[in-house]
Point group: C2
């Protein structure tokens, strides 16, 4: 099986055609199943395909047809954050079901890395790009515009997107959480997150949060932005830092549930009661929340669906259907019971 060509060990279409005694074009037609050949010819060709172990060369097909590939470039900050793992899972499954492939790029939240990645990925003639966040470098924006490709900006909703956007308004979400916590009676609130990058949705969220808290008569007394991943242990030691430097805090808001859980564990280790001594609020309503004895105060965002929706918007645009370019996927505050419910408002 699998007689190889001399050059590169790959069986080409012409080899199949020769072996079947037909022209390259006829073999091509059979393989694409677009008709215009007899049953007998089809069998001849397919038999040789099996015998030689022919694999189509989609790269050459794209090239010949002067079309784009079925690649979709997907840039994600990192996978240590469960949120993005879920988003990616949603994207890849949906893309896969449409016969498209994910070309991954972990761009670590930096514009420069994203820019380099975009340059590389565009050179592979992708069918479209899905990017996390709405801030891109000038050169990146220019390349994206010039490419003329469909682009979905996800996560941080962009009301005037390059092309399309799906996500939530993080400012509003942060604001809602802030208003809720102030409504619970908290006035002296801390924050633990992992980045102060202005391009980061978490920063936008924090801004909305701060606005709501100060507007409601409270104060975000201390904001901690660690140089680490938004995971359990940073939540733990971040809380330690926070409460050591500012013991007067009555509540802590975290960048996500993993960090919040880490914070809860710190509190438990130090004998601090939640919510008796201190309130805890997370973000994302991650799977771990489902098994905790006490419902974690959090903000539900449909991450998997967000990913799926992004992929669907991409597919719609590629098939020429009309697409609503900006989709707010929505969020829902989970009051939970890791904050006191003094029932204000």
């Amino acid at each position: 099986m699998a007689e190889k060509s001399h050059k590169n060990n790959k069986v080409s279409l012409s080899q199949v055609a020769n072996a079947a005694g037909v022209s390259k074009m006829t073999a091509s037609r059979v393989l694409r199943g677009e008709g215009g050949y007899s049953e007998k010819t089809r069998d001849l060709v397919m038999h040789q395909v099996d015998r030689l172990g022919y694999l189509p060369n989609r790269l050459a097909a794209v090239f010949a047809g002067d079309k784009t590939s079925t690649f979709i470039g997907v840039s994600i900050p990192d996978l240590g954050n469960e949120v993005f793992a879920q988003v990616l899972e949603g994207i890849d499954h949906k893309l896969g079901s449409f016969g498209h492939q994910t070309v991954l790029g972990l761009t670590q939240h930096t514009e420069k890395e994203e820019e380099d990645w975009i340059h590389t990925v565009l050179s592979w003639q992708p069918a479209g790009l899905i990017l996390t966040g709405r801030f891109h470098s000038t050169r990146a924006t220019e390349m994206l515009r010039n490419s003329g490709l469909p682009i979905v900006e996800i996560w941080d909703l962009n009301s005037s997107p390059l092309d399309m956007s799906v996500g939530i308004n993080h400012f509003d979400a942060g604001f809602d959480m802030g208003r809720f916590l102030v409504g619970c009676g908290y006035r002296n609130i801390g924050y633990v997150g992992t980045s102060h990058d202005t391009a980061n949705a978490a920063t936008t969220r924090l801004a909305g949060f701060v606005k709501a808290v100060t507007g409601g008569g409270g104060e975000v007394t201390k904001q901690l932005c660690l140089h680490d991943t938004a995971a359990y242990y940073p939540g733990y030691y971040g809380t330690e830092q926070l409460l050591t430097s500012t013991p007067t805090l009555d509540c802590v808001f975290y960048q996500n549930d993993a960090m919040a859980f880490g914070g809860m564990q710190y509190c438990a280790a130090k004998g601090l009661k939640v919510p008796g001594d201190i309130g805890i609020a997370g973000w994302g309503d991650l799977p771990i929340a489902a098994v905790l004895p006490r419902r974690l105060t959090s903000m539900h965002v449909p991450h998997l669906r967000l990913g799926q929706t992004a992929a669907e918007m991409m597919m719609s645009r590629l098939s020429g259907e009309p697409v609503q370019p900006v989709k707010d996927i929505g969020f829902q505050l989970i009051p939970g019971s890791t904050v006191k419910n003094v029932g204000l408002r």
Copy 2:
């Protein structure tokens, strides 16, 4: 900026060359920086590259050079399992640092899906493939062999790999855990996992586990394999099912730490003391373990490093360096304190 060609809106090398008043070949040389041109010519060409917003077409380059691309196909079962998210993160970072791209495939643990995905990915002329697991369908194996590409099988160490393999011996790891638990005095042990697929490493692990337990005079009384993801909540309700049907168990072994944590939460909710009333052992030493009050009995596997190593082996092979084809990345039992330590052996 960005004057477009009539056809497909992309600026080609000849357009750049024409605009710069040089031949296509000279422009190509400048862009690849391989010398054979004057400084003046270089500036002329690069100026037009900027002005026209030219993006190289790597697809055409691969095609012309009759080479493979810089794509590496990476198949991962799913990202809901943090273990694989970490592995993927390790792979993509390392590949990226070598100028290669990950083409992702979430193949959901099934051979059929993997086979289809392999067929598709191979048609894009990748430079190599990284596959999770060592079991592949016959047709998949045949395609992989015929491709002649470098292949790294990860996770479940394959001592006679298609090409290369890195991971751990799950049978041995399961065996060690079983021996340890029996050594702790447990005799009536339950298991909660998510799959009975023979192609699954978890199944291999379980086999080793069972062998050690029965060999040590204990019994794996009940094995529960849920049709779900290996996450917190399945761990919770799986434990509920397990302990309801078999209340006599003295210990439960889980497919991973997330499930184990879910199980611990179930126990806590029901007033069962860990390890007083029941022992709990997880697998993977996931990040959450770092913040728990009680060290979770688990098995440490360097997931991130596993991913990085897989990528490094791939890069070594591609650059023609000699590669040790089978690498056991090792594991380490974390005794923890969620099991009794009766101090046997």
